[in-house]
Symmetry: C2
DNA sequence: TACTAAAATGCAACAATGTTACAAAAATGA
DNA sequence: TCATTTTTGTAACATTGTTGCATTTTAGTA
């Protein structure tokens, strides 16, 4: 789907900054950190604006947060860009390659249920696998 | 086990800073972030020194990192303070309460195997559950 | 097309977090 | 007690993320 339509569908005004950022994600296909997006879009988009763009994309269900080596955050396109309902879960695992640094969504892998102590209520779960991707494994 | 012995066992010199920090973890029993430890030990321990203490504890297998709401890191005592082998995994899930902010280790819950694409090698995994703990659930 | 209200942007300033270099101090073993 | 090695404190700096505010841009409407 074209970036313009995606923005509209998610109730986001069309701006050049947002289009640039969205194109990065559509083209790159992997999770990107704020810094990585910044490098891709260059100084066409202000640093603060970029934070706000990523934030708005997340609020509107266009991106979801991905834990990155337990220290920082990346963003990835949501699974269901086809439906506008953004009370979604994106409840899948992520894999980060420790060699090339790429982070990919393991869409097929729903995070399994984990038993918790009595009385605990689980609302969300984040699962990050680390290792080597097929490109870096040899 | 006494803090002094723990340090010795893990090849860490006994210093007042390290003892203070270690006592925090032994007494508190939950995962602590750098800032939380800093609050607990006060200005008896310098900020930079505290970073280094946490780092040395992790290197020597006394603490392990715990992902904290995908943005920052906490530290928790390792499962096996009894053996000195620190090529350990601490391969269990963690639970963070979104109300009180406490993070606990779910020692019993080994992280299940997640299928990955062909050619990927998984070396480590981090699983963080978010929700309400038994104290905050009502 | 021109106008208006609402939203988004850029900028400056700031806060929090984390790192490095280096000299001074403390801990260990002989 | 001494010598060596490790640890510490300090300062300086880099990175990351946030807030306030004036300006610009967008989208809808006349």
């Amino acid at each position: 789907m074209q970036p313009e339509r995606l923005l509209k569908k998610h109730n986001l005004r069309k701006t050049s900054g947002r289009l640039s950022v969205l194109r990065c994600f559509l083209e790159y296909g992997k999770a990107l950190s704020h810094g990585e997006v910044q490098d891709l879009v260059g100084k066409k988009v202000d640093r603060v604006t970029l934070y706000r763009i990523l934030q708005s994309f997340e609020e509107k269900g266009l991106l979801h947060k991905v834990p990155d080596d337990q220290v920082s955050v990346k963003y990835a396109l949501c699974d269901h860009l086809h439906n506008v309902d953004h009370a979604h879960s994106d409840n899948h695992a992520h894999f980060k390659c420790n060699s090339c640094g790429d982070t990919v969504c393991l869409e097929e892998s729903a995070i399994p249920n984990i038993p918790t102590p009595k009385g605990f209520r689980v609302n969300e779960s984040f699962l990050l696998l680390g290792g080597l991707c097929d490109q870096c494994v040899r």
